[in-house]
Symmetry: C2
């Protein structure tokens, strides 16, 4: 079978690709396991470098998610699954509304329409976000049954795509599943335009011996999840029998609710033998304003009951990052 | 100022137009009352007949809501307000998914983009629906704080437009307000493709001396509202200071929760001096399946606190229909 990862040259996309190659197969539209013979990483930009664990099954295809013809060309087999990760991020969406609509909404519709055009009811895993929650009256703990009142354009487009994935699935156009991601840590490489970029930065920059300016207060609290669990969660969600999800195909992934101060402590514990760059608190009103709209805590009973994983602790997440990117 | 009513040649559009002409003015983008000098009824089809209470301030413009150029041409003044009523209805949307997306989603975006292109922050009143609610786990009473899990494409597109109206308002592109309508009674004329069409029919056909086949059981319960209150509600919502709505510009209109049997009793009471067509129960699985997804009861504290009206009783609604359309 063919597997498409949109946003496939991003950090999570590349890790998902590596993991899929290790597994070698997924449940295909037939309902049984099928070997992956073609894995396409679709993205706007090539990755800085392709990991050398990728092999001949992998192709990088550069293109524009908002171009329907390109996406129909990409989703060109009936034995196909799509992981739809391509997205404008939160800070980027606040700065360019039209781009967020074009990439996140039009792009999402293009992927769904392309799946619909195939025979065989392709499985679609869509990366949503807990940024779908927000606004006045938001409960302290958000979850699958909470009203979505997003306060960023990013969150609005994610909420819209959750609704559309549900409806395309209800109509029998595709077999969709949406995973609502908390803040993903620890992203390697450079900071990006996501308002949450600093959360990875506060681990990554000190580990690189680089000083780090925290744009929020250490008491700031948020749900986070390590990238290994994100990737496993996407794959588990893909493999589930859709009926197990009922009439709401979207769920919040498991998460750990922690403060920024706890993250810094975990870093100090796990990397005590390394020279760490210094962390200073330098509040940034643009970032603080967005972060203030985020949920404090996220429930995940449904995802946990379905076997979707999370790390045991922040320490485990820091340790994995050191193994994967530093050692 | 100019006022545009999309779907303006429909039943509610025409009644809203008549009421706006009576009032003669609305709050304009300046914040003060401005006389209405141009009232455009935009629709796909002309009305069967224009009420003779309309006058020279009114123009009918035929066009396609999904055509962005036409909508930009329609919304061509800075001193403008838009009542966006154009929509594919619930049954129609289930039969033609693509049409529902094109008219309700693309059409909604066109109206919002056209408002955004103006200077002066036009007020936009969007007709949403309690069909945004549904699915397993739906509470017995739905309302402004309940998770939206629509089970029709119609409901999905209404939920999406509520999200977009909120975001366009948050971004300062327009000044939006969304009114979530319960089942509207009593529509004159012919049945339409709405799954709820029978609810008006069970009053209208007997009053016309015509027999009526009920497609659902008499115990079926639902929230309803008379068209006079719908029209007054749209206008009140337009006139409100947007700040009174906070960060969620969408609210459920007030409603009366009644059974089909109670509706028939009200008809018998109010029209006891008229020869009534006979009502028979002839369940229609297509209609019953859609109706089964609707909420049983709807709360409306916020709308009521803001002064949006509802009729005192079903009897008042039947009496108004007899006055407006039969006598």
């Amino acid at each position: 079978m063919k597997v498409v990862i949109t946003g496939g040259c991003g950090f999570i996309g590349l890790r998902l690709a590596q993991r899929l190659l290790e597994l070698g197969e997924l449940t295909g539209p037939s309902g049984g396991p099928e070997p992956i013979d073609d894995l396409v990483l679709f993205d706007m930009n090539p990755p800085p470098a392709l990991p050398d664990t990728l092999d001949g099954r992998v192709t990088v295809l550069l293109g524009e998610i908002s171009n329907r013809d390109e996406i129909f060309h990409l989703v060109d087999r009936d034995d196909i699954s799509v992981f739809h990760l391509a997205s404008v991020v939160s800070g980027g969406g606040e700065k360019d509304f039209d781009l967020a609509i074009r990439v996140n909404l039009d792009g999402g519709l293009n992927v769904m329409e392309a799946c619909r055009a195939r025979n065989g009811l392709p499985r679609l895993v869509f990366a949503s976000s807990i940024a779908v929650f927000g606004g006045s009256g938001m409960p302290k703990v958000v979850g699958d049954t909470v009203k979505q009142k997003p306060q960023t354009t990013y969150g609005v487009t994610k909420a819209i795509c959750e609704l559309l994935v549900n409806d395309y699935t209800r109509k029998g156009f595709l077999d969709g599943r949406s995973a609502r991601l908390p803040t993903v840590i620890i992203r390697p490489g450079k900071p990006n335009a996501a308002a949450s970029s600093f959360v990875s930065g506060l681990f990554r920059e000190p580990l690189n011996g680089v000083p780090c300016a925290l744009p929020v207060q250490p008491e700031t609290v948020m749900p986070v999840l390590g990238y290994r669990s994100i990737v496993e969660g996407f794959i588990k969600l893909h493999e589930l029998d859709g009926a197990a999800l009922g009439d709401d195909r979207a769920l919040s992934l498991p998460s750990l609710t922690v403060t920024v101060a706890e993250m810094i402590k975990a870093l100090d514990r796990v990397a005590s033998d390394r020279p760490l760059g210094k962390i200073t608190v330098e509040p940034d009103p643009f970032i603080e304003e967005i972060v203030a709209t985020w949920p404090l805590d996220a429930s995940h009973e449904r995802a946990t009951a379905l076997g979707l994983p999370r790390e045991e602790s922040l320490d485990e997440i820091v340790q994995a990052y050191i193994e994967d990117y530093l050692d």
